[in-house]
Point group: C2
Chain length 376, copies 2
C-alpha cells in the first residue's frame, strides 16, 4: 500500500505536527474491512469498542462487547473499534503507507462505521492522526491548532464547547485522507453509511515517559546509582528539605539521562507492544533454522502490533523490551525483517540466513513473538 | 532523647556517608522495649519479622509471624523486626536523637534480639545505618567502604564472601552507637542475650526516584508536556530510532526536571509514609478547633511514620503526598508540629492557633493522618 498525491519530504517539513492537511485520493484501495466484520469484531470479548449516539441533541456512549445493532436504527450513531490492525491483517497493511514516519510513533488503527448523521462531535485529540475515508462520504471540518474549552456532554465523551473556524471544510470521499495534528479541533458527520480508518500516533507526555522508563529500569536493573546528601549542616531543622538536597536529586536524575544506558531504556520501552506477543510453544533454536529454510511450505509472518526497532549508528535491535546485537553478517536479515510488513516464504530468507548470527537473530525474533513461523 | 559524646557538625562534615564511626555511650537510656514484647510483636500478622539461625556452619532464615521461640534454644539465632517505631512509641522516640539529619532521609527503626552467638553474618547494606546497642554486649566489626562479593548462604540472606579488614573491632555495651555508611562491611556477634536498634536511612536509586516521581506526576496530573519529533527525513527507514529523536526525549525530560513543579513532586513523594496513615472517622473542620483548644483532656499525637516536610525558602508544607501553603500567621504552628516528636496537650497549641489559617492547617494535618486527636 502506497500514499499518492503527497510529497512526503515536503509534508514532513511543513505540515507534520504543524497544520492540518487534506490529501485528496491519497490511497487507491481502501476496501479493507466490511462493516459487518467490524460489527462482529465489536461483539468479541477483549475488543475495545464504543457506540456513540447523538439523538435529540443528546449524546450517549455505550461500551462493547455488543450483542446487536438493530435497535440503533439507521441514523445518528457511530461504532468505533480500537486497534483493529491487531485483529485484521488487511487493516494492518494500511500502516505500510505510513512508513515514511517513525515506526515507534505509530500507535494503532481505529476503525469507525457511521450511519447518516453519525459522528463523535467536535473535539481535539492529544495525538496526531491520519483519518482515511473508507467507504461512503463524510463531511469533515478541521481547524488550526487553537485553545479550546473541554466539555463532557456525557460520561466518557470529551468534546469542545465553542465553535471553531475550519481551515478544511470538505466532503471526504473514499481514499481521501485528513492529517490532523494533536490539538487541532475536528468534527466529522457522516452523509451516508461510511467507514473511517484512523492511524493514530503516540507521543507520551513527560510523566508517562518517566513511568515507562522507570519500569524498564527496575525490570532490567539499570540506573542503580543512589542519592547521596550534599554537605549538611546541623543547624538546618530536620523537617526542612533544602534547595541543595533538591538539586542533588535532580543532578542524580540528570546523570541518569546522560548515561549510555538511558538510550537503551528508551528503545527497550518503545519496542514494547501494547499487548503481550504470542510465544512459541517450544523456544526455537538457531540450529533448527537451516532445515526450515529448505521447506517450501514454511512462512514467516510479522505479528501485528509487534515492534522491531534499530538504534541508529549502532548494531542494536530492540523488540518486546529486549535487545539483540547483530554482527555484520546478520545486518541484512535484520533490516529485511524490520521492513517486513506482510508474510514471506522462509525460503526467500535463505540468502540472508547462512551464518550463525543470522540464525540466532531469527530464532530470537520468533521467541520474542515478533515473527511467527507458519507451516501448512 | 539526646545524643552525647558527638560533635554533630563535625560528624556531618567528616563522617556522614564517608566512614564508619563508633560513638561510645552515645545514648543514656536505651531501655526502649523488652525482648518479650518484641517477640510478641513478631507474632502479629502484618509485622515484618525474620529469625536467622546459624548452626553447624549452616545459615537459615524463617519469616514471621512466629508462633513460638522455645524450639530455637539459647544460642546462635537472632530475631529481627522491621519498622518497630511504627508500633512502639518508646522506640519511635529514639528517632528524636537523629533529628540533626534530614527527616525525609530517615526510614525506620529495626530492632533485633539476639542470643549468644546470634547475628546475621558479615554483609554490606545499601543504606546508611546507626546501630544502637540496647541491652547486652555484642562484638561488632566494621570495615571501610570497599568492593565486596555477594554470596547467598541460603534464600533471603545476602552476605559477603570474603573476610574484611575491620577499622572498628569492639565489644559494644548498652548505649554505644555504631555509624555504618552504605557499602561498609559489618558483622556483629552477640556475646550474651542482647537488643540492637538500627536507625535506617533511605536513599532511592535513580530508577526508584523515577518510579516514585512518575507515580506522583500521574496522580497529580503534572508533567503533561508531550513528545514532539525533531525534523524528520523521509529517507530514514521507519524502524530506525535516530539520535535526534533520542535527544528530543531527553530534552523533554530535562525540561521536566527543570520545571518548578518538579521540586514539588520530589517533596510530595518524600512526604509519603510507608504505610497508609489513619484517617479520622469524620473529617475535622477548622471551625471545630477553637472549642478543642479549650478542652483540657484533648491531646495531639504525631502519627509514627508520618512525615511533615517543609520546602526551604517557601511557605509550602508537605504531608502524605499533599501540599499545604501556610500564611505567615500559621508558620509558628506549622513549625511547632513539624518538630513535635511526642504528644502535646491541645491547650498548649492555643497561642499558635488563633487565626483561621492555623486552624485550617491543624484540621488538614488531622485529616491527612499526620497527627491524631485523642480525647480521654
Ligand atoms: O472516525 C471517527 O468518527 C472519529 C475519528 C477521529 O476523530 C479521530 O480518529 O481522531
Ligand atoms: O541487628 C542486627 O543483627 C543487624 C543489624 C544490621 O546489620 C543493620 O542494621 O544493618
Ligand atoms: Co479525533
Ligand atoms: Co547491616
Amino acid at each position: 500500500m502506497q500514499l499518492d498525491n503527497i510529497d512526503k519530504q515536503a509534508f514532513l517539513e511543513s505540515d507534520w505536527q504543524q497544520r492540518p492537511r487534506l490529501i485528496k485520493r491519497g490511497l487507491n484501495n481502501v476496501d479493507l474491512i466490511e462493516p459487518e466484520i467490524l460489527a462482529g469484531l465489536a461483539m468479541e470479548e477483549g475488543v475495545d469498542a464504543r457506540v456513540i449516539e447523538h439523538r435529540n441533541q443528546r449524546w450517549s456512549v455505550s461500551h462493547g462487547p455488543f450483542e446487536e445493532y438493530e435497535s440503533l436504527g439507521e441514523q445518528d450513531w457511530t461504532l468505533l473499534v480500537q486497534a483493529v490492525n491487531e485483529w485484521m491483517p488487511d487493516v494492518h497493511a494500511l500502516l505500510e503507507a505510513f512508513r515514511f514516519l517513525p515506526e515507534w510513533r505509530i500507535d494503532d488503527v481505529m476503525v469507525s462505521f457511521s450511519v447518516e448523521g453519525g459522528g463523535v462531535g467536535p473535539h481535539v485529540d492529544e495525538y496526531d492522526v491520519f483519518i482515511v475515508q473508507g467507504a461512503g462520504r463524510r463531511h469533515w471540518r478541521v481547524g488550526e491548532r487553537q485553545a479550546t474549552t473541554p466539555t463532557y456532554p456525557c460520561e466518557d465523551l470529551k468534546q469542545i464547547s465553542d465553535p471553531f473556524n475550519a481551515v478544511i471544510d470538505e466532503v471526504l470521499e473514499p481514499g481521501d485522507i485528513l492529517y490532523i495534528p494533536a490539538g487541532c479541533p475536528h468534527d466529522g458527520i457522516a452523509l451516508e453509511p461510511c467507514l473511517n480508518y484512523s492511524v493514530g500516533f503516540r507521543a507520551p507526555n513527560q510523566a508517562e515517559w518517566l513511568a515507562q522508563l522507570a519500569d524498564m529500569a527496575l525490570q532490567t536493573e539499570r540506573l542503580k546509582q543512589r542519592y547521596t546528601d550534599p554537605k549538611l549542616s546541623s543547624s538546618t531543622p530536620s523537617h526542612v528539605v533544602t534547595n541543595g538536597q533538591l538539586e542533588q536529586v535532580k543532578q542524580l536524575l540528570k546523570s541518569a539521562l546522560d548515561a549510555d544506558e538511558f538510550n537503551e531504556l528508551i528503545l527497550r520501552a518503545q519496542s514494547m507492544s501494547k499487548r503481550p506477543l504470542p510465544e512459541p510453544e517450544l523456544p526455537m533454536m538457531a540450529e533448527q533454522i537451516p532445515a526450515l529454510l529448505t521447506m517450501n511450505n514454511a512462512m514467516l509472518v510479522r505479528t501485528p502490533g509487534a515492534r522491531l526497532l534499530k538504534q541508529a549508528d549502532t548494531a542494536h535491535y530492540f523488540a518486546n523490551g529486549e535487545r539483540f546485537t547483530v554482527t555484520e553478517g546478520a545486518e541484512m536479515l535484520a533490516q529485511k525483517i524490520a521492513e517486513l510488513t506482510d508474510e514471506v516464504p522462509m525460503s526467500e530468507l535463505a540468502p540472508y540466513c547462512q551464518d550463525m548470527c543470522s540464525q540466532e537473530l531469527l530464532a530470537w525474533l520468533v521467541n520474542q513473538g515478533v515473527i511467527e513461523l507458519l507451516i501448512d
